[in-house]
C-alpha cells in the first residue's frame, strides 16, 4: 500500500506490465512465432508462383516480372537477418494495398483521362479491325437465304445444315467450307432440314446456349459468307469493306472511299466513322472538351457552381446551427443537458445512406409526411430550386451534431479568465461573444470547417440518395439540377442508356482532385499539422 503511494502515476502503468509481457512473450516467443512467419510467407509465395504461372500462360510478361520482383523483395525483407529491414516489415503490408488500389488507380485515372475510353472505344485496334470486318458483311441485293438447322457431326463439331430457299438444294456448312448434301440422306419439312444422316440436330436449351457462338459463325463462300440470322435462318453476306493491311486502311468496295486511322481511335472517311473504334491516347482532348465544347462546358460550370454552393452552405448552416445549440445548451448547471446531448447526436449516429433515403420519402411531394403534416404542396424534390434547398437542409441536419459536439468542446476550452476580463471591462454578452469567444473558437474550428467543406464537395451520397441529381434539366444533359461534380462524374461513367464516357469521367475526377487539393493545401497551411512531425 505504502509502496504504491510512494510512486504515484508511474506505478499504475508499469507495475502490471512486467507480468503481462513475460506471459505474452512465452506465448509468442521462439518456435510458434517463427513457424507462423514461415507459414505465412510460404502461403504468400505459393500464391505468387501460382499467379505467375497463370500470367505466364497468358503472356502478361510485365506483370510476371513485377510480381516476381515484389515477391522476392518481400521474402528478402522478412527473412534477411538484419535489423535494417525492421521498419519495412511493418510498412509493407499496408503499402501493398496502398500501391495496388490507390497509387496505381491514380496513374490509371490519368491514363484513361488522356484516352478516348468510352462506349464504342473499349477494345484494342486489332480487335476493332476484326469486328469491323465482321460488321461490314451485308446481304447483297440478290443474296441467297437459307433455312438453317444447327447440328453436330459424329465428332461433335458444330455445323449448319442449310437449305437454299429458292433452289431448295441442301448444303452443310462448316467454318471452313460449304458442301452440298445428297437429298437422299436428308429428311426435310417446311422449316428446313429436320434430320440428316451422320449429323445430330441441336435443339432446345443447348441451341439457345449456342447463341453467342452462332453470331460469329461464318461459312465462307467465295469472297462472301453465310451467317446465321436467327436460330433457324441464315443469309449469304458479302463484305462491303476491304481491309488493306499494308496501308492499314479500310476501303469501301462500292465507291472506293478510303477509311484511314483518324488518330482518335477510329477509321474515318471525313466525318464518317466505322464502328467500333478502339482505345487510344488522345492527349488533352478531354480537358479541351471541358474547356471549349459548350455541350460539356456549360453543364460543368453549372455543376461546379452548385457544388461549391452546396458544400459551402452545408458547412455554414450546420456550423451555425451546431454553434448556436452549443452556446444555448452549454449552460453550467442546466438540467437535462445530457439528455439533449444524447438525442442531438442521433442524426449523426444513423448510417447516412439510411437517413437520406428516409428523408427522401418524408419529402415526397405527393405522399410525404412533411407536405401532409403542414398542409403544403411544396415540390421538395421535383423543382430545381426546392430540390437544392432540400439537399442543403438534409445535409445540414446530418452534420449539425458534429459541429454541435466540436463547438461544445471548443467553447469549454476557452479559459474563463478571458471572458471574465472582458466582463470586468464592461463588455455586453454579445460584445464578449463577438470579440472574445468567437475569434478564439474560430481559430480552433477553422481547420475542421475547411476539412468539412472538402468532404461535402464530394458528398456523393447526400445528393444521389436524396434526389439522384434530379430533377432533370430541360436541356436533357446528363447533369440534373442538383448533381454535384462527383455524382455527375458517376453518371457520365455508368449512366444507363446514354453511353459510358469513362475517359471524360476520369478527366472530371482529376479536375475535382485539383480543386480539393487546393482546398486541402489551404487547410494544411492553416493547421500547421506538418509541424507536428517530430
Amino acid at each position: 500500500m505504502s509502496a504504491t503511494s510512494a510512486t504515484p502515476a508511474v506505478a499504475q502503468v508499469e507495475i502490471p506490465r512486467p507480468a503481462l509481457i513475460p506471459r505474452v512473450l512465452s506465448a509468442f516467443s521462439g518456435t510458434p512465432g517463427v513457424v507462423a512467419k514461415i507459414v505465412l510467407l510460404g502461403i504468400l509465395n505459393a500464391f505468387a508462383f501460382w499467379a505467375m504461372y497463370v500470367l505466364l500462360t497468358r503472356s502478361h510478361w510485365v506483370s510476371v516480372v513485377v510480381l516476381a520482383l515484389a515477391t522476392a523483395g518481400i521474402d528478402l525483407v522478412y527473412l534477411a537477418p538484419t535489423r535494417k529491414t525492421l521498419p519495412l516489415k511493418f510498412l509493407i503490408p499496408g503499402t501493398i494495398f496502398l500501391v495496388g488500389f490507390q497509387v496505381i488507380p491514380i496513374f490509371y485515372t490519368v491514363k484513361v483521362a488522356l484516352s478516348n475510353y468510352s462506349t464504342g472505344h473499349v477494345i484494342t485496334k486489332h480487335d476493332a479491325i476484326q469486328q469491323i470486318k465482321i460488321n461490314s458483311l451485308q446481304p447483297p441485293p440478290n443474296g441467297r437465304s437459307y433455312t438453317m438447322t444447327v447440328a453436330r457431326t459424329s465428332s461433335g463439331e458444330l455445323v449448319l445444315l442449310l437449305q437454299d430457299q429458292t433452289s431448295k438444294k441442301f448444303y452443310v456448312g462448316t467454318t471452313k467450307a460449304l458442301t452440298p448434301l445428297a437429298p437422299s440422306t436428308v429428311t426435310s419439312g417446311p422449316l428446313g432440314i429436320t434430320a440428316a444422316k451422320g449429323y445430330t440436330v441441336v435443339k432446345g436449351a443447348e441451341l439457345f446456349a449456342l447463341d453467342k457462338t452462332l453470331q460469329n459463325f461464318i461459312v465462307p463462300v467465295g469472297k462472301a459468307g453465310i451467317r446465321p440470322q436467327t436460330i433457324s435462318t441464315a443469309v449469304e453476306l458479302e463484305p462491303t469493306l476491304r481491309y488493306d493491311a499494308k496501308r492499314g486502311v479500310f476501303i469501301r468496295l462500292s465507291d472506293g472511299a478510303v477509311f484511314a486511322d483518324n488518330g482518335k481511335g477510329a477509321f474515318a472517311h471525313g466525318a464518317d466513322e466505322l464502328e467500333p473504334g478502339w482505345t487510344t491516347g488522345v492527349g488533352a482532348a478531354n480537358f479541351k472538351r471541358i474547356a471549349k465544347d459548350p455541350l460539356v462546358r456549360q453543364p460543368f460550370l453549372r455543376v461546379l457552381i452548385w457544388t461549391i454552393t452546396f458544400a459551402a452552405l452545408s458547412v455554414a448552416i450546420s456550423f451555425a446551427a451546431g454553434l448556436f445549440l452549443a452556446i444555448t445548451l452549454d449552460k453550467r448547471g442546466m438540467r437535462f443537458q445530457r439528455v439533449y446531448r444524447t438525442i442531438l447526436v442521433i442524426p449523426w449516429a444513423i448510417p447516412g445512406f439510411l437517413a437520406l433515403l428516409v428523408w427522401a420519402g418524408l419529402f415526397n411531394d405527393k405522399f410525404g409526411v412533411i407536405n401532409r403534416m403542414f398542409h403544403i404542396g411544396i415540390p421538395w424534390l421535383f423543382d430545381a430550386n426546392w430540390a437544392k434547398v432540400t439537399c442543403i437542409l438534409v445535409n445540414a441536419w446530418m452534420s449539425t451534431p458534429y459541429f454541435f459536439l466540436v463547438s461544445m468542446g471548443a467553447l469549454q476550452a476557452i479559459p474563463d479568465e478571458l471572458t471574465e476580463a472582458g466582463r470586468v471591462d464592461g463588455g455586453t454578452p454579445f460584445q464578449l461573444f463577438r470579440r472574445v469567444t468567437f475569434p478564439l473558437l474560430l481559430v480552433a474550428v477553422a481547420p475542421l470547417l475547411i476539412a468539412s467543406f472538402a468532404f461535402n464537395f464530394n458528398n456523393f451520397n447526400a445528393i444521389y440518395f436524396l434526389t439522384a441529381g434530379g430533377p432533370p434539366q430541360a436541356n436533357s444533359s446528363i447533369a440534373g439540377s442538383t448533381d454535384i461534380l462527383i455524382s455527375y462524374t458517376y453518371k457520365l461513367a455508368f449512366a444507363a442508356g446514354k453511353g459510358q464516357d469513362l475517359a471524360l469521367a476520369s478527366a472530371f475526377s482529376i479536375i475535382i482532385f485539383a480543386i480539393v487539393a487546393l482546398i486541402s493545401a489551404i487547410a494544411f497551411s492553416r493547421t500547421r499539422a506538418l509541424e507536428e512531425l517530430a
Binding site: 506465448a27 437535462f336 445512406f353 405527393k366 481547420p447 455508368f494
Partner: protein
C-alpha cells in the same frame, strides 16, 4: 488540428476547480430548454416517422402517421423472409434484405478489421523507428490520401474488370475484390491518428520488453496493441461506418442483387417505389440503423476526439 483536443484537455481541470455555480432558475433558462426541445424534435423527426411506418400496416409512404394507424409486425416478417408483397398488385417482390445485411457486415467487418491491423503496423513503424524516408513517407501518405478512392472509381472499375479476366476471384462481383479495394485506403488518416496515440505510449515499456528478449513483432502484438485498444476501436468503427455507407465503389464492383451491400440494395429497393414499399423499407431501415447507431453512440466520446484530429464522417 488537434488544438481543440489539447486545449480541451488543458482547460478541463480549470473548469472543475471553479466553484460549482448554483443551478440556474427555470425562469432564466426556459428559452434554452425551448431551443433544446425544438432541436430534439427536429433531430428525432425522421426517426420517429420511420419507426411509426415500420409498425404500420399501410405500406405506402402516404400512410405514414405520427402513430401507426394499424399496428402490425408484418413489415418485419416480410423483410426477414426476403419477399415483399406489393400492396396494390399483390405480386411478390424479391428483396434479399438479410443477404444485403450479411454482405454489408462481411465487407465492412473485414475491411475495418484489416484496416486496423494494416494501419497499426504502419503507425508503429512511424512511431517507434527512425529510418531514412520516414518523414517523406508520412507526408506521402497525406498527399496520396488527398486523392480519395471515391474519385478513382473509374480506374478501379477497369482494373478489377481486367484482373477478373485473369483471376476470377478478384473480378467484378466478388467480395474479395471489394474488400481489397477498400484496403487501398487503409493507410493515411488512420495511420496518422494511430501514430499520435502510439507516441503517447511510454517507450520504456518497449525497452523493458526488449531487455526481456522480445522481438519487434512481439513488442508490437504483445505490448503496444493491447495498450492501444481505444484508438484501435475508434479507427475500426470509423472505417466500419465509412465502408457501411460507401456506395460508388461498391456499385461499380458489385453487379448482381445477391452481391449488393445495404446501400445498393436498399436504394434499389425503394427507388421510385415510395408508394408501395415504404413499410417494409422502414422496417429494414430500422433494423439496419439501430445496431450501427447504438455502437456509434457508445463510442461517441472517442470518435469526436478522433475526428477532430483529422477525419470527417458523412
Amino acid at each position: 488540428m488537434s488544438s481543440v483536443v489539447e486545449a480541451a484537455a488543458g482547460a478541463r481541470p480549470a473548469v472543475r476547480e471553479a466553484p460549482a455555480p448554483r443551478r440556474p432558475k427555470l425562469a432564466d433558462t426556459w428559452w434554452r430548454h425551448l431551443v433544446g426541445i425544438v432541436a430534439c424534435v427536429i433531430a428525432l423527426f425522421p426517426v420517429w416517422f420511420i419507426a411509426s411506418a415500420a409498425f404500420n400496416a399501410d405500406q405506402s409512404v402516404s400512410g405514414t402517421s405520427f402513430l401507426p394507424t394499424h399496428f402490425t409486425l408484418k413489415n418485419f416478417s416480410q423483410i426477414l423472409h426476403n419477399t415483399v408483397v406489393d400492396q396494390s398488385t399483390g405480386s411478390k417482390v424479391d428483396a434479399p434484405f438479410l443477404r444485403w445485411y450479411l454482405n454489408s457486415m462481411i465487407v465492412a467487418g473485414a475491411a475495418a478489421f484489416l484496416t486496423v491491423i494494416l494501419s497499426a503496423l504502419a503507425a508503429y513503424a512511424f512511431s517507434r523507428f527512425r529510418f531514412k524516408g520516414r518523414r517523406m513517407g508520412m507526408l506521402t501518405l497525406l498527399l496520396i490520401q488527398m486523392f480519395p478512392q471515391l474519385l478513382l472509381f473509374v480506374a478501379i472499375y477497369l482494373i478489377i474488370l481486367n484482373t477478373g479476366a485473369i483471376f476470377g476471384f478478384l473480378g467484378l462481383n466478388t467480395f474479395t475484390a471489394l474488400v481489397i479495394v477498400y484496403l487501398g485506403g487503409a493507410l493515411g488518416v488512420n495511420t496518422w491518428l494511430m501514430k499520435g496515440f502510439f507516441d503517447t505510449i511510454p517507450r520504456e515499456l518497449d525497452e523493458s520488453a526488449r531487455v526481456d528478449g522480445a522481438t519487434a513483432g512481439q513488442i508490437f502484438w504483445g505490448v503496444v496493441m493491447p495498450l492501444a485498444a481505444p484508438v484501435l476501436a475508434v479507427v475500426g468503427l470509423i472505417s466500419f461506418i465509412f465502408t457501411l455507407n460507401e456506395f460508388v465503389i461498391a456499385s461499380a464492383i458489385m453487379q448482381t442483387t445477391s452481391h449488393f451491400t445495404l446501400p445498393l440494395g436498399m436504394r434499389g429497393f425503394i427507388d421510385q417505389q415510395y408508394g408501395q414499399r415504404w413499410g417494409p423499407f422502414a422496417a429494414g431501415a430500422l433494423l439496419a440503423a439501430i445496431p450501427a447507431a447504438a455502437l456509434f453512440m457508445a463510442l461517441q466520446k472517442f470518435i469526436v476526439g478522433g475526428l477532430t484530429q483529422g477525419a470527417v464522417k458523412g
